[in-house]
Symmetry: C5
Subunit: 152 residues, 5 copies
């Protein structure tokens, strides 16, 4: 399997390294292609190119939108673009966004960012290699980067 990993210079934590490390822990060495772009709005086309030009079977798009209203708009535009890129390629792109205002302080934010990247990396592993495991977790209130809330 060929896995694309795309992150940004705007982010304040190296989400890509965490994600790749987590994937390797679960399924050993895979073929990775990494790209870094300036910000989250540059992710959609970069991910699409990883799929169409780089031949990736799945891609992770990692970013950390800022805390302001304008940053929220950027994140929304990026997310819309990432969904469109998936629809145009029939390929999953797992969006891993950590908003800067999600942490109680910088330390908490850093832990959250690392955990979320690893949690989504585990999702990628399940989607590629253990779809029956993901299906057993359907409706279980899973969360990425924070404790699961569980089913009702």
């Amino acid at each position: 399997m060929k896995i694309g990993i795309c992150d940004t210079t705007f982010a304040r934590h190296d989400l890509a390294t965490a994600a790749i490390d987590e994937i390797k822990q679960h399924v050993g060495n895979q073929q990775f292609i990494r790209r870094t772009v300036p910000g989250v709005k540059d992710l959609p086309v970069a991910c699409k190119k990883l799929i169409e030009e780089g031949g990736c079977d799945i891609v992770m798009a990692l970013g950390m939108p800022g805390p302001e209203k304008i940053d929220k708009n950027c994140a929304h535009e990026a997310s819309t673009g990432l969904i469109n890129a998936q629809l145009m390629t029939n390929t999953h792109i797992l969006e891993v966004f950590v908003h800067e205002d999600e942490g109680t302080d910088q330390k908490d934010l850093k832990i959250l960012a690392d955990n979320r990247a690893r949690s989504h990396a585990q999702n990628l592993v399940k989607m590629l290699f253990k779809p029956e495991k993901m299906r057993r977790e359907a409706g279980k209130g899973m969360r990425e980067g924070r404790p699961d809330v569980g089913p009702l």
Copy 2:
């Protein structure tokens, strides 16, 4: 008929099982293809793949967006993507979203979630097998998961 059912691990109730059970009660065994993805933003491409790669005639996209502003944004982006996926395939995808803040408490939310999944499953049955029944309900103020409000 081949029916796609796509749900999420983020959801806090097994909407897919309720939907499939309801369809079977009305029209017996059909060919189902189930997929589970992490969250609602992963649904659009998963549903499109069920149609284009899995050969489904119709798909249900089931999810439970969280209660926060950011969750509402995710739901909006997912809905936009689901509509685009339909337009690209000329195939209906019935969106079944239950927002976590729709329930008065967890018990009420669970009942609502189950009812809504079943109600949309009934819609699917009508659209596939009894379009004339759906047409007779045009303008009748039907609701999914809550009591119908009826016509003016």
Copy 3:
């Protein structure tokens, strides 16, 4: 001319019957194709299918979004999808949405809904059969379902 009429079971008034009646009053019998779907978010693909599979020359998309914030979001997503469906088919789809909170009471809302459906039906007649009449009304402050406000 082949006219597509698509409405919903969510709506609380039979907008489609009003629209068809109005068209017939102005230009006699035309070839109509009717479809009913659950809600406004199901309209875009249904209308696109009426055009591409049903051969319709124009379509009316009729719906009554609810009064809550979430209903407004649904209406926005549906409208975006309806515009995309038009762009993908180079065919007009006249959107006829009546929001539940537009009426002063249920009676007023019902009258408004009926009037708006008929007013848009008149627009359809002009677009198909009397484009020069519509052009003479350019910039005239026309309104659908309420009195025209007129030019400045």
Copy 4:
């Protein structure tokens, strides 16, 4: 050059006539194709048809969105559609929207509407016939319908 002009019956001023008059004053008679549609949400497909079916080299899309929240939503959906129509055709569509709440009173609004239509018509002339003139105005704080604010 073939110029498409598309306006609405919802608008309260004849923006199209102002725009055409202004173009003629600057570059004499051109080949114009006019279309009138009910509202701004009907503009995207109408403009796309002017390009793809009418052979227009450029189009003006003129409308006057109302003052309410719902009107702002319509304008947003229309603008999104107009940008999509341009991307699908590789052809410029100049959007000329005058919001009803932009004027201090009806008289001011009418003057603004007329001025803005003429100002965008001048832009069209520059884009088609004098691109070097438009380039010299880059970063100059030009405004349409109100006095230019100038560079910082």
Copy 5:
């Protein structure tokens, strides 16, 4: 390499000249194609044409949205269109937007605008000529036009 540069007459600073100057300082003379359009909503199709008709390998889209709510909407619509243009062409378009309300005063805004254009120009240089340098900056909290915030 062929670099497209697209800016607006609405902007209040000559962002394009700053960007081109910065690129030249880093990598000497390149082949530039410049286009100027009225406002940010005209950028998406102009950039797509620079790619598809002008043969550009990458494009910068420079604009200065105004401070009002309506200007924020325009910026959002333009950003969405710029992402779509990238997805349709598999080519990066670097968006350089400076909002008029970002500056503490006109002098600060002018400095910010010039710095941001130059900072994004440096990003372009890295993306085209030094991708390994951009990758080393992944997760480093880089900012354009303001001091970097650094990693957590």
